[in-house]
Amino acid sequence: MKSKLVLAWRNIWRNKKRTYITLASIIFAVIIATFMRGLQLGSYDKMLYDAIRSSTGHIALMDKSFWDDKTMDNSMEFSQDLEQVLDQDQSLEFWVPEILGGCLISVGNNTRGVVVQGVDPEKKDAQIRLREKVIEGSYFESEDQAVMLGKDLASFLKVGVGDTVVLLGQGYMGMTAAGTYPVKGIYDHPMADFNRRLVFMPLAAAQYLFFMEDRVSTVNLVLKDQGDIRQETALYRSRIDTTTTEVRNWESMNRDMLSAIESDNFFGKIMIGVLYMVIGFGIFGTILMMTMERKREFSIMMAIGMQDYKLITQVIFESVFIAAIGAIIGLIISFPVVYFYSLNPIPITGENAQIYRDLNMEPVLSISTKPGYMVAQFGIVLIISIIASIFPMYNIMKFDIVNIIRGRQ
């Protein structure tokens, strides 16, 4: 084994220039692939993470009809008993009971359809850090009879802190929900919909407005460890009335996003595939030249008694060796950079930032540091190097050693 390594090393460096070029191409490909994959996987993680944290939770409790028809009538009872279980659940990072209701908001002649979110202010802050986003007035408290507006909505309605808005919508059991509320604070959230179409109100006030008493639309649970989903789902199934209420997991609540990710990921893989195919041909050329220019010594080795499969093993070994060196150097170069940008997401500025905001995404590029995809690059390069040696191997088996030694070939 050791001598095989030494021999492979010596053979690789017989043509320094060629080896440098081959290595450079592998290193380049691994770096590009690592960044592309890192950004791609990082953006998926970020999208899902944001969606889970700021809206669906890992799991959510809701009425069985609510997911398809988000009305007050499809709300669920939020009992003290359930609240106690949630409060004592050590597996939760936080949980948020919410009322979601469609309303018309109007001030003077300006009217717009919005979603009113009735929430516990502290829990909401834990969830989306809304407090620090307040740019005017102050953050709401659970006893308030007031609302918080996004800055775009506020400027559309031409209201400021202390002004009154009118909310009109439909409450539980078809009752008319109507009320006037002062604006307590105005916030600026990086996602467009938050600024344009959301109105926050304390949970108790919302329950009163919509005649919900002790009912809520959903309770969203974010776990400390995503791995606990199964047992947490089971726990809450046993605590709710499963004839009317269900426990949904994040996958079922983010289907559209997941399928968008899946198709994007597919194209991402194709891109990487094309990149590696180009590199694969480079490796192939190198290996082929390495065997063809050593025709004579290979023939001598076989003439004096070396079996062709042993020679082939040596060639594969050399090929894998080059590939491994390239892949390792590539990863060594890219890892610190990837790691740095994973800790310091790259902010997106200018027009592109607005595109992100319009898509309800935070305008940053996040990059994944999951070791899996980096190890995968290493594996892919090794596999390519083996595939690239198939034809040269076949060539060796077909060598006409007598004529090569005679100098006729």
Partner: protein, 227 residues
């Protein structure tokens, strides 16, 4: 005692297009411990005959027997195995593996056969000393003269004490001093290790030292003289 027999062997190249009858019915025997030279004009079939004896090429008709075993019907893999275990080869030039030192080249066959490390080491040094190139043990072939390279090739061919050594014009690329030197070495090993040598040559100096001269012309044996 005779260890190699060829029975009326022929070799025809390109039988379907432009047939070249390289060997036309050769029947020969070689005894153990011999030092024989195959001679004749260029193109008379010396290399072809050696290759068939050594299991590198198969005769078109006839048989080659080594130690009573017919070798021309063996599979490719079995022939390789046969060459590894029975024959030492020396070619005209570029015998050695460029990335290996003289030591490593000499050790090559013993390593293929899986000899223990210390046994390989002592055998290599013994041979390199006998060939008078022990001081060059760690040089690569491109740091050796042509004669030195051929001596390493002889050391490698002798290393596992094969039944016989086939050498195809081993001195063709050497000057007369190096040729004399190499012949001395080969004769010494022929006497010391009782190794059978069969080689082809054009070279008068080689012919003079051989104990048997087989003359080929047009693929046939025209003279077989022992001294």
């Amino acid at each position: 005692m005779s260890i190699i027999h060829t029975h009326n062997i022929t070799k025809t190249y390109n039988p379907d297009t432009v047939p070249v009858h390289a060997i036309n019915g050769v029947t020969l025997s070689f005894n153990e411990g011999g030092f024989s030279a195959i001679i004749g004009p260029s193109g008379c079939g010396k290399t072809t005959l050696l290759n068939m004896i050594g299991g590198l090429e198969r005769p078109t008709t006839g048989t080659v027997e080594v130690n009573g075993e017919t070798i021309n019907t063996k599979s490719k893999r079995a022939l390789t195995e046969f060459r590894l275990k029975n024959i030492g080869f020396i070619f005209q030039a570029y015998n050695l593996i460029p990335v290996m030192s003289a030591f490593e080249n000499t050790a090559f066959i013993m390593e293929l056969l899986g000899w223990p490390r210390d046994k390989i080491k002592s055998r290599v040094m013994e041979l390199l000393e006998a060939m008078d190139i022990a001081d060059k043990a760690h040089q690569r072939p491109n740091q050796l003269s042509g004669g030195q390279q051929q001596r390493v090739a002889v050391a490698r061919a002798l290393s596992t004490r094969p039944k016989f050594i086939l050498a195809d014009e081993p001195t063709a690329n050497l000057d007369s001093h190096a040729t004399g030197n190499l012949l001395d070495m080969m004769l010494k090993m022929n006497e010391r290790e009782k190794t059978t040598f069969i080689f082809s040559t054009h070279d008068d100096r080689v012919m003079r030292r051989a104990r048997r001269l087989i003359k080929l012309d047009d693929g046939k044996v025209v003279d077989d003289a022992r001294s």
